[in-house]
């Protein structure tokens, strides 16, 4: 990796250089009742739109690579025949400016299942391949538990990663494009002093991470605790609303619907992101539901993220961004659920 | 000359709600002329009792599917008047803009879908899609514009979502507002084409002396829609809070709707009443079109209400352009002011497409509704419709009209009022 440094005020120039492309970044969306700022990712129209000191956005940047609704194909029908048309929905390169490590790690995890597996998903792949990612260091919030999920730092999946030092940016340069870009602004190769400052910044950041999840032997513990009563307790609270999956940067499951236009000559196959917490997630024709109770669905979500994915890819599908816990109206958070499932090992101590 | 005739129309079509027309002529004399309102009452005034004030606009909007925006705004104004809240200038302008688009939407619906088929000799707008496709397209374009703007400003074309006590939950997008400005400009061509079409219609030359009641524009060039003094063409003037003196509701056995009267045995509200009472306040271009179509104040031909609606369409489009210009010339301010409930009574008068509408709400000190009263334009028109029918029947006898002609004229007369019957029996 090549490390460079540039003065903080050069960031605007970097943005401007990239601004011939659409730039998506964190923006202030509004304020809650207690006047706390609320952020989300959106298309920006100027450097001033960027709110790079955001703690966490409400939603992940998912809609730019896994839209909630998307046409898998369209059909034109004639009396006896039809044609199928497929459009992956990517037409240009997009810059994602200001992603935190957790969100870049989320993309890396999605890459594994959506791009590097059998049947790679071209709808995701087309967008993902056309992304220029400028990561930005974060200031952890009380609900961030990225460190437990080994997502607090990121080593690939971006072009440029910026860490804010006092009055400059420490840049991890990870692509030729990014390297050339930095040559166009005032920047220099990082010195020992910069390395030191960087390490200091990282350790300061780590001190702010308070929430945590004990992941040791978690896959086994989840199997042992499959019938634990705590699932029922969390299930009683769950609203089966799908909010957690919607805000999650790595939830990717979906449903498909086919619709015919009013002219009966055009039709669409639409994909809509789903959530395993929704009541009919595992329901089949005729009405049989493999997970009729809300606790079985909630449990499944944890099994998929913290057990099944680990089994398949040796890492969890959760990046510890804390969004699902923040958004859940029933206050169901990953650290608490996992701690309660592990409950037994505390008793043992 | 035709001496006997018996007309009995159950559930008149192409009007909102359920009403019957009965005309019996015996030996050249009108033996019976009746406008029966048989709509089922829904008891909105009772429904509201015990509800928190924030429910009022949301529930009252459901009085009527056509003028839900008007009802919503009337309820909001009643609450705000009750709690002594004055809307900001920005809120007032946005509300008026929204109101204008409802007026446009509702008038176009009436003119084209409900009234025009009579003048073009068909039973509904459906055959016109084949015989007069350009007319239908005009209507659809205008209605679409109005509805799209209602979505943008009010959140929803029907039963708006963004309109709340204290202001708006959300403000329109400035960029789109500017685009609407352009669509409004472009829509004038369709309105002028409509005026041309109208000039070819053969409006019956029937008229009857009528007392017209409406709001009075507050100042020169202000054609009234939200709040202000109440006036009648017979010279009555009352303040908004004194609405009961204007409405004088009573019941009659042929109607589940209440009825109203003022200086005479009946009165009329609506586009024609507004225009008769505020003719000089119309936008100059609208006024010109009105004159071209032979509509000058004070006009007593009820069929002219169709023309008055068209003139108002032109007015609201032109005025909306002005409103958008004003809104876009300054930055958005805070969209919602704090609401502090207080005990008391709030009264609002708002001009909805079919005429003047009153909402009156009484609150306890927590803002819970204790009593409610809504006086609907169509209920104020019912008695006038009935006396018009009676006079029309006589006129038809005198003109030697046959049964079919009389029947059609009577139907067209009721339709001309654009009655909203379910609304009147709310």
């Amino acid at each position: 990796m090549i490390f460079k440094v540039f003065p903080a005020e050069e960031l605007a120039a970097l943005y401007e250089l990239l601004a011939v492309n659409p730039i998506v970044g964190p923006v202030l969306k509004g304020r809650d009742k207690k006047d706390n700022a609320l952020y989300d990712f959106a298309l920006t129209s100027g450097f001033a739109d960027l709110a790079l000191d955001y703690g966490q956005t409400m939603h992940s940047a998912k809609k730019f690579f896994l839209p909630h609704r998307e046409d898998l194909c369209t059909f034109t029908l004639s009396d006896h025949d039809w044609d199928k048309h497929v459009d992956y929905g990517a037409y240009q390169h997009t810059v994602l400016f200001g992603l935190h490590p957790c969100d870049i790690n989320a993309l890396n995890k999605l890459d594994k299942v959506l791009m590097e597996s059998v049947y790679p998903n071209p709808f995701y792949g087309a967008k993902r391949s056309n992304m220029f990612i400028v990561g930005h260091s974060c200031s952890p919030t009380p609900s961030c538990f990225c460190r437990s999920m080994a997502s607090d730092s990121v080593i690939r999946g971006f072009d440029l990663f910026l860490t804010r030092l006092d009055d400059s940016y420490f840049a991890e340069v990870n692509s030729a494009k990014a390297y050339h870009l930095l040559e166009k602004i005032k920047s220099y190769h990082a010195t020992d002093r910069d390395h030191k400052l960087f390490r200091h910044a990282v350790s300061e950041k780590n001190k702010k991470i308070t929430a945590q999840v004990d992941t040791s032997d978690l896959t086994k513990i989840l199997d042992m605790e499959f019938h634990a009563d705590v699932w029922q307790e969390w299930g009683d609270k769950c609203l089966s609303c799908g909010t957690c999956a919607n805000v999650c940067p790595t939830c990717y499951c979906y449903g498909v619907e086919e619709e015919v236009d009013l002219d009966l000559r055009h039709a669409r196959k639409e994909k809509l992101l789903y959530s395993c917490n929704l009541v009919d997630f595992a329901e089949v024709a005729g009405g049989h539901n493999f997970r009729p109770e809300s606790h079985t669905r909630l449990k499944y979500r944890y099994y998929h993220k913290h057990r099944g994915f680990v089994e398949a890819y040796e890492e969890s599908l959760c990046v510890g961004c804390g969004r699902c816990g923040n958004a859940c109206l029933a206050d169901i958070t990953v650290p608490e659920v996992i701690a309660s499932v592990r409950g037994g090992d505390n008793n043992g101590k | 000359m035709k001496l006997n005739c018996d007309i009995d129309i159950k559930h008149l079509t192409r009007v909102e709600g359920h009403g019957n027309i009965r005309i019996r002529i015996e030996n050249g004399k009108v033996a019976e002329a009746q406008w029966e309102v048989v709509e089922t009452p829904r008891f909105f005034e009772a429904m509201l009792v015990g509800k928190h004030y924030e429910n009022a606009p949301y529930i009252c909007g459901r009085i009527c599917g056509i003028c839900s925006i008007g009802h919503t705004l009337a309820s909001i104004r009643a609450v705000e008047n009750g709690f002594a809240i004055t809307p900001s200038e920005q809120t007032a302008k946005l509300r008026l803009l929204l109101k204008h688009m409802e007026t446009l939407q509702s008038h176009i619906l009436h003119i084209y879908f409900l009234a025009a088929p009579d003048f073009l000799g068909v039973g509904s707008v459906l055959p016109l899609t084949e015989s007069h496709p350009e007319v239908v397209q005009q209507a659809l374009r205008l209605k679409l514009l109005a509805n799209d703007m209602c979505d943008e400003v009010g959140g929803r074309r029907l039963h708006p979502t963004r309109t709340v006590v204290g202001g708006f939950t959300m403000l329109p997008d400035r960029y789109r507002l500017n685009q609407f400005r352009q669509r409004l400009r472009a829509s004038l061509a369709d309105l002028l084409a409509s005026a041309k079409l109208f000039s070819t219609f053969d409006l019956p030359s029937f008229s009857r002396e009528t007392e017209f009641v409406s709001l009075k524009g507050e100042g020169e060039g202000i054609y009234p829609f939200i709040g202000g003094d109440l006036v009648s063409s017979d010279g009555v003037v009352k303040a908004e809070y004194d609405y009961l003196a204007m409405t004088n509701e009573y019941m009659a056995e042929y109607s589940t709707s209440k009825l109203s009267k003022l200086s005479r045995k009946s009165m009329a509200v609506g586009a024609l009443a507004r225009l008769n009472n505020n003719f000089n306040e119309l936008h100059p271009q609208a006024k010109e079109i009105s004159e071209d179509l032979g509509l000058l104040a004070v006009n007593h031909n009820p069929y002219m209400n169709n023309v008055a609606q068209l003139v108002e369409c032109v007015h609201v489009v032109l005025d909306s352009i002005v409103l958008i210009d004003e809104l876009l010339s300054s930055d958005w301010q805070e969209e919602r002011q704090p609401v502090i409930p207080q005990a008391g009574k709030g009264i609002a008068a708002v001009e909805v497409p079919r005429g003047i509408l009153y909402h009156c709400l009484e609150f306890d000190d927590e803002g819970s509704i204790q009593r409610a009263d809504c006086v609907i334009p169509t209920s104020q028109n019912h008695a006038n419709i009935m006396y018009d029918i009676e006079d029309l029947a006589r006129w038809c006898v005198a003109q030697g009209k046959n049964d079919r002609e009389t029947e059609l004229l009577a139907q067209m007369l009721v339709r001309a009022y654009d009655p909203c019957i379910s609304c009147s029996v709310h």
Partner: protein, 302 residues
């Protein structure tokens, strides 16, 4: 414009062949024509579906037990087991029960209609590994549909297998599928035993549970090498295969020699929609055919 990032077209010709191919696979379906429709019972029909393009048809190969995604444009898409023999390539037979949106629409469709076929997907019954062995094929209800492909496959290579038993149970005689083929199966030296829950007029066969027939078969086969020379393929409702597999386990048949096919909701067949996951295993990739050992290790499989 020099900083305009260049658009990368995944499907473009300058991409490596393999990447391009796999990208196009995802939403690709073969256009196929329904060439014949045979009503089998009140609710099931057999559809003969031929992939239109001769090359695509020839290149379409599958193994018994795999499934395809069948698409009716604008109506719906769903997974269906291939019920025909693998040697017929893209000349497929699907047996489909009308239960929901798409399957009921399919009921109204006549020959000549064009549909979309993608696949084949999933794991299969490893009949190639059973050569030289006795085979027990046990089906309950609609479970005979995925079993028909291994049956046909075994028939075509009849001499390479030992004793072949088909035990088939249905609720009523009128619900039995593929009746017209039983004689043919028997001619190939197959022991076919059929049992129903409930007799109807004209029924002369046994009435009762499938496990009773299985018991007889096990008892007669209770020789030392039953466990060494038998494989079982079991297909039917979960409750049925659980009983059957338990019974076989008691008879000392190793779990890894029993194969079942599981059914789950599916929207893609490609390991992407997650709807078919059991615990956290994709039924469409790791299944639908599992050996019984794997099934027992899947949380919430039965």
């Amino acid at each position: 414009m020099e900083n305009k990032l260049e658009f990368i077209d995944l499907g473009a010709t300058d991409q490596p062949e393999q990447a391009r191919q796999s990208v196009h696979d995802f939403e690709y379906s073969h256009k196929a024509e329904i060439t014949n429709v045979y009503p089998l019972t009140a609710t099931e029909k057999l559809y003969q579906i031929q992939i239109c393009d001769p090359d695509e048809r020839h290149n379409f190969t599958f193994h018994p037990g795999q499934f395809v995604m069948l698409e009716l444009p604008g109506i719906g898409e769903g997974p269906f087991s291939i019920s025909s023999s693998p040697i017929r390539h893209g000349d497929l037979e699907l047996c489909i029960r009308g239960v929901g949106n798409m399957t009921n629409f399919l009921n109204r469709v006549e020959r000549g209609t064009k549909v979309g076929i993608s696949g084949p997907f999933g794991t299969h019954f490893p009949v190639e590994n059973m050569i030289g062995e006795d085979i027990l094929l046990i089906a309950g209800g609609l479970g005979i549909v995925p079993l028909r492909s291994p049956i046909l496959s075994v028939l075509e290579n009849r001499s390479r297998y030992g004793q072949v038993d088909i035990i088939y149970g249905a609720r009523k005689p009128s619900e039995l599928l593929f009746g017209y083929q039983y004689e043919m199966w028997k001619q190939f030296d197959i022991n076919l035993e059929i049992i129903v829950d409930e007799a109807e007029q004209g029924w002369q066969g046994p009435v009762g549970l499938i496990t009773e027939i299985l018991k007889k078969r096990i008892d007669q086969g209770r020789d030392a090498d039953f466990r060494h020379k038998t494989s079982a393929i079991v297909c039917g409702p979960p409750i049925m295969f659980k009983f059957v597999c338990d019974q076989l386990t008691h008879a000392n048949l190793p779990m890894e020699k029993m194969f079942v096919s599981l059914e789950r909701r599916m929207h893609c067949g490609r390991g992407k929609c997650c709807r078919c996951n059991i615990g956290s295993t994709y039924t469409c990739l790791k299944g639908p055919v599992f050996d019984y050992w794997s099934v027992l290790n899947l949380k919430e499989a039965i």
